[in-house]
């Protein structure tokens, strides 16, 4: 029988929705029994949320003061101590999971499958390579624990209403002191989270300034959307790094994605190809974004965006 351990991301109050998506991925493994592992200073609140996810069998908590911030060097030895006995260890393909999971894999002496996008068997998976221009099917040795990060844009979130057991664990390992948390600067807004929003409004270099991005923020707020940006726009300083969508930014799968003034480099397209509907507005009729758009309009975004907001009755 397969036993899957999922590394859950949270901020102490709220469980990150990537956890629900990892659970859906894990349920694709035949007969899998699923446990969720939480590390934190106090995980009581998030443990209740994790226990409610459909398909979760057990929630494990490791609470200690050193776990107040998710430092990979601190978390990894604890996870590696809990992992034996499990056949699979999944982390999310978020900055949290991508930082931590390979460190755990190396401590366990096993490889990692990154950005797992489809489960073809307990030890057979598909993942994207070359910015999504190719999909490779890989097979791993069933004799070793299978460590993977889950490409969260490829899976729906598991529902809630379950009631898994919650247990406290201790990982009897010496924690390093060579890595220390200093602080964070988050561009948190009242807008929906870019990685889980059902609507995303995104802007490219054509926005031409950080001030002009306000046009997109206003439109996004009217339709209840998150705001993203192309790498070109982030590099130019028009938008902060956490808004970047693409191969090296966030991979997203909203119901509808608005690309305003984004030419559509391969590296950007790989971040949006799972969007249900892509709407592209660009002045250049030859822009590659139109090759993947479901609905395209050749036009100047500075005219289109305000008019669209008006016509949509907002």
């Amino acid at each position: 029988m397969s036993k899957v351990l999922i590394l859950a991301e949270h901020d102490g109050q709220t469980l990150n929705p990537s956890t629900h998506k990892c659970v859906t991925c894990a349920t694709a493994i035949p007969g899998a029994q699923i446990a969720v592992l939480l590390l934190g200073a106090d995980t009581a609140a998030v443990a209740t949320q994790a226990a409610a996810i459909h398909g979760v069998h057990e929630v494990l908590r490791i609470d200690r003061p050193e776990n107040a911030h998710p430092l990979a060097a601190t978390f990894a030895p604890q996870v590696a101590a809990i992992a034996p006995g499990y056949t699979h260890l999944f982390g999310p393909s978020t900055s949290f999971g991508k930082d931590l999971t390979p460190r755990v894999a190396a401590l366990l002496g096993v490889p990692q499958v990154s950005d797992l996008m489809a489960v073809d068997g307990a030890y057979r998976f598909r993942r994207p390579i070359y910015a999504g221009n190719a999909i490779v099917t890989v097979e791993a040795d069933p004799a070793r624990i299978l460590v993977a990060t889950v490409r969260i844009a490829s899976f729906e979130a598991a529902g809630t209403g379950g009631s898994a057991t919650i247990a406290s664990r201790t990982a009897d390992v010496k924690l390093p002191v060579h890595t220390r948390y200093v602080g964070a600067r988050s561009g948190s807004t009242d807008r929906p989270d870019l990685q889980t929003a059902s609507r995303v409004v995104s802007g490219g270099r054509a926005l031409a300034s950080a001030e002009n991005f306000k046009l997109l923020y206003d439109f996004a707020d009217k339709i209840g959307a998150a705001v993203g940006a192309s790498r070109a726009a982030v590099d130019a300083g028009y938008a902060p790094n956490e808004m970047q969508v693409g191969q090296t930014g966030k991979i997203i799968a909203p119901e509808v994605y608005f690309a305003f003034g984004i030419s559509g480099a391969i590296q950007h397209l790989t971040g949006i190809k799972d969007a249900r509907t892509i709407v592209a507005v660009n002045k250049d009729p030859e822009a590659p974004i139109f090759e993947v758009a479901d609905i395209g309009l050749v036009g100047d975004l500075f005219q289109v965006v305000p008019e669209l907001a008006r016509l949509l009755g907002h």
Partner: protein, 249 residues
């Protein structure tokens, strides 16, 4: 700060549109332009700036791979690395194998800092730095957008999903770099000439006591599913209509 190792991976150039082989055995690499992984270029640029700020630091470029990966190490030498080492193997090098090779080199060279790109743009694995840090039992700072060195330690600003995070790490350490850390310099012709005289050692993977294990077997490679061709609308009014009809807004 005495020595920095920078990892330089040979990859298909950023601008090449990669195609899958018809028999599904991989992607077409014959005659394709190869370059230094763009993130590794940023790592090297950072090492060079540390050196140029006046510290007497040696910058060592390290590659792992085929004989031709010497070309990318020559580029690194032309950019300003002091010397280079190619760990040569004809086998595909998976991240865990790369991490073991780099660990062996780290034990030999005793660097204060190992810099790598956060991921390589071929396999997009995003693993090697983290695995190396684990095996070496040293700190890791991934996705660095700012690196400040102090005596025996470094303060690193990291690009994370929520924004920016700052951590402090003791040296030696592994740092993987993100896009906005710096903008790499262009190589000038005289530097290419000078680079030909700089030392480039070629050693075998086996000489480091590392086997090129197949950890994950690639069964087949396929092109991604194509999206259906969409429709073009003529004006904003039609766009608004379509969005409403499809129930998207």
């Amino acid at each position: 700060m005495k020595k920095i190792i920078v990892c330089i991976k040979r990859v298909v150039d950023y601008n090449v549109r990669v195609r899958v082989k018809p028999d599904g055995s991989g992607v077409m690499l014959d005659g394709v332009k190869m370059s230094v992984n763009p993130f590794d270029e940023i790592a090297l640029e950072e090492a060079l700036r540390i050196k140029e700020r006046g510290s007497n630091v040696e910058v060592v470029a390290v590659g792992i791979g085929v004989v031709d990966a010497q070309q990318q190490l020559r580029t690194a030498l032309a950019m300003g690395a002091d010397r280079a080492v190619l760990v040569q193997t004809d086998q595909a090098v998976e991240p865990l194998t790369a991490a073991h090779a780099l660990l062996a080199l780290a034990r030999k060279e005793n660097p204060d800092l190992i810099l790598l790109g956060k991921q390589a743009i071929d396999d997009d694995a995003n693993q090697t730095g983290q695995m190396l840090a684990a095996l070496w039992d040293r700190p890791q700072a991934t996705y660095a957008s700012k690196l400040e060195l102090q005596e025996g330690k470094a303060t690193v600003t990291r690009e994370v999903d929520a924004g920016l995070e700052t951590i402090e790490i003791d040296l030696p350490a592994v740092v993987t770099v993100d896009l906005r850390l710096n903008e790499p310099r262009y190589v000038k012709l005289p530097d290419i000439m000078k680079a030909k005289k700089k030392p480039l050692d070629v050693i075998s993977l086996e000489s480091l006591g590392v086997a090129a294990s197949v950890w994950l077997r690639a069964v087949k490679t396929e092109p991604p599913a194509q999206r259906q061709k969409g429709v073009m609308v003529k004006d904003v009014a039609e766009l608004a209509d379509v969005l409403k009809k499809k129930g998207l807004i």
